[in-house]
Symmetry: C2
Subunit: 116 residues, 2 copies
């Protein structure tokens, strides 16, 4: 299966997980069931946008940072993530992200679950 960047399914989410502004989620997840996977998305954060801190249970979420600087709350530790950096929110941990800059920022996210 091959998808062009502009074929991802765009979903705009306001105040996601209690965060600020409108987050653009661009899903690459195919319609057919994909082994243990519930999300594969490019997440775009305009200046000032955020996804509030939330916990993952029975799954993990990985972030690969693509563009701009993103302030990551990584299970309580705050880091300024740059393009090429990577994070995992392990099962039972929590994380949140914020664009505190005046430039666009984005990352690739995927969530892998215990469920079939």
């Amino acid at each position: 299966m091959f998808l062009r960047a502009n074929e991802r399914k765009i979903d705009k989410k306001e105040n996601m997980r209690g965060g600020d502004g409108t987050v653009v989620m661009g899903s690459f997840l195919p319609e057919e069931k994909l082994l243990h996977t519930r999300l594969i998305s490019k997440i775009e954060l305009a200046p000032g946008c955020s996804i509030g801190c939330h916990t993952h249970e029975g799954e993990f979420e990985a972030f690969y940072f693509l563009e701009g600087e993103i302030t990551l709350n990584d299970n309580g530790a705050t880091v300024k993530a740059q393009p090429g950096d990577f994070s995992i929110c392990f099962d039972g941990e929590n994380h949140g992200i914020r664009n505190d800059t005046d430039k666009p920022a984005s990352l690739l996210a995927f969530i892998i679950t215990k469920a079939e």
Copy 2:
């Protein structure tokens, strides 16, 4: 868990899956066991480098294309992948990649397995 881009574990593989040249695999996979996941890597293909066509069984592999143009054999179909494009090699399918250009190319890859 947070890793800077330069903290990925570099492994150089020659003639990978029967391909040409030396492929640079940069792993972000943590040492602790990660649910259903056997690979999370930035793959770098210098000009002329390739990973030969191979089949995935009991797992799938996703590619998010980061840099340069990569010629993808996606289960028999040939496409020229650009940054932001995405592909999945489903369980039982095959794929291969080649950098036919004179510029560097890279992608992020992850493999999700049926196994625990």
